[in-house]
């Protein structure tokens, strides 16, 4: 590049290392592969893990979509998109899920299902689901290796004892391919079933914690639960037991965000803005 910055900001050695870690992560589904997270021109915790994955994978003929909590227009998404556009000349960006080949997301998995030729990159703040029960990383590694997750399950047990249900709202511990349990990043419970048997490769990057892990396509992903207390997703029913609808597109299937409008009324709207727009276009022709 003319200004002396390499394509996709990272030098080729850094990209190669990340790609190698990605391959390892795909080979051992759910295993957290350590990598030397590079310094990025933004603070750790702003999606540097996801960004490094995107930069290592992107090529000039890729079309990129960046989402933050379902929206293409929120600050984190806009800034990351601008940065990638600036450092990767020749790539296309889009807000349409169907047009994208590479999707970087924070806290949501898109509403519509992904295709086999797409890759979803999720930004992860805390990669290890065991961190709530074991502070030492050394011991956590042994626990992961031996699939010793009883203390995590005790956490669920205690939840049911205290509140009659499992109260984890996001970062729901999920067992991948029957062995490793991952923290699937702060996606809501609603999105967890989308990890299971996904068409697309799903990659997780934690920049501050220097870990990469993956849920390969068509892989088992089971949220932790008891045989008689099954995992359940948010149901969005009102006090009358009716499913709330999106006020913009009228969808009854989507994950909803709650707002207080100018009249002080509670209103609900799709969290995935791209999906919402597509539904509106369908309705109005």
């Amino acid at each position: 590049m003319s200004n002396g910055i390499n394509f996709a900001f990272l030098d080729e050695y850094a990209k190669r290392e990340i790609r190698r870690s990605v391959i390892k992560a795909i080979c051992i589904p759910g295993y957290q592969v350590p990598y030397s997270s590079r310094e990025m021109p933004m603070g750790r915790g702003f999606g540097t893990g996801g960004l490094q994955l995107t930069l290592a994978l992107i090529g000039a003929n890729d079309t990129l979509k960046v989402i933050d909590q379902g929206s293409d227009d929120s600050v984190n998404a806009v800034n990351l998109r601008k940065f990638i556009e600036m450092t990767c000349p020749g790539i296309d960006t889009t807000t349409r899920l169907q047009e994208a080949t590479l999707i970087q997301s924070r806290h949501r998995i898109p509403e519509q299902s992904l295709r086999a030729d797409q890759i979803l990159v999720l930004q992860v703040p805390y990669p290890d689901a065991l961190v709530i029960v074991e502070p030492s990383e050394d011991k956590r590694k042994v626990m992961h290796g031996e699939a010793d997750y009883s203390r995590l399950l005790v956490k669920l047990y205690e939840d049911i004892v205290k509140f009659d249900e499992i109260t984890i709202s996001h970062r729901y511990p999920t067992r991948i391919n029957g062995h490793y349990i991952i923290d699937p990043s702060p996606i809501p419970r609603y999105d967890v079933p989308k990890l299971h048997n996904s068409n697309a490769l799903i990659l997780f990057g934690a920049g501050r914690e220097k870990k990469i892990y993956a849920v390969p396509p068509h892989c088992l992903a089971e949220p932790l639960a008891f045989d008689d207390v099954p995992f359940r997703i948010e149901d969005f029913t009102d006090t009358n037991g009716e499913r709330r609808v999106c006020k913009m597109c009228g969808s009854r299937e989507s994950f909803l965000d709650e707002f207080i409008d100018e009249q002080g009324e509670r209103v609900y709207q799709c969290s995935d803005s791209d999906y919402c727009e597509q539904q509106q276009e369908l309705a109005h022709g």
């Binding site: 009883s150 205690e158 045989d227 008689d228 207390v229």
Partner: protein, 276 residues
Amino acid sequence: MDKILEVKGLSQVYGPGCDLCFTSTGPEFESNICQHCGSIVALHDLSFDLYKGEILGIMGESGSGKSTAVKCLYFDQMPYSGSALFFDDTEQKHLFELNPAQRRSLRNHRFGMVYQNPNLGLNFDISAGGNIAERLLMSQVMNYSEIRERARELLARTEVLTERMDELPKNFSGGMQQRVQIAKALATRPPLLFLDEVTTGLDLSVQAKILDLILEIQSELNTAMIVVTHDLGVIRLLAGRTLVMKHGRVIERGLTDQILEDPQHAYTQQLVASAL
């Protein structure tokens, strides 16, 4: 009778260790510190057999190596040398040749441990029921109501009020904590139980109840136990056979009655005399 455990030449050394460690320590030297390299020989050449449903007592003063023996067998630490063969239902397992995952599985499913200090055996941040649930979850019991039911049964069996099963063990009295610990150890119905000074520090009436409980469990479940204690009363009540240890060595072994009525070794004589 069926053998359940066969221990041969179990030794434990803390420190660098040298060739002279074992020949320069022991009761005849009145020390377990090797004068050549400064290592502590906590345990040397411990051998015994244990049969199904039997209670074996290990008696000795503090520092005699009795707890070390149990900790090695429960994999809390790995021994310096020696072997132990565990006779599981169908197969035999050499304890110290297993990999960490196999050791953990044996520890979780086939062994139970009750420590002197409930701090070591219980997780004080989760409820009494949760502590028992942890052991059940380790052995792949994944049904919530079944776990609740089993935990309630076990706590009732060990005479902990089941109304308090969702309370944190730190709110319990020492005797009750010890009972929760026993309930936890029994959760998977292990064929082998290690009891390390279980009644030390409890008042006499509670001691008696816990010892009663242990005897009932033994006759009910036919659990083999190794009871480590310095209390002659506990040995007299529980153990059929006894080992007496000093400076890491077994100095006398035999039927408990025989040892208490007719001690042969000078140290045992002293021990028995001082208790009376």
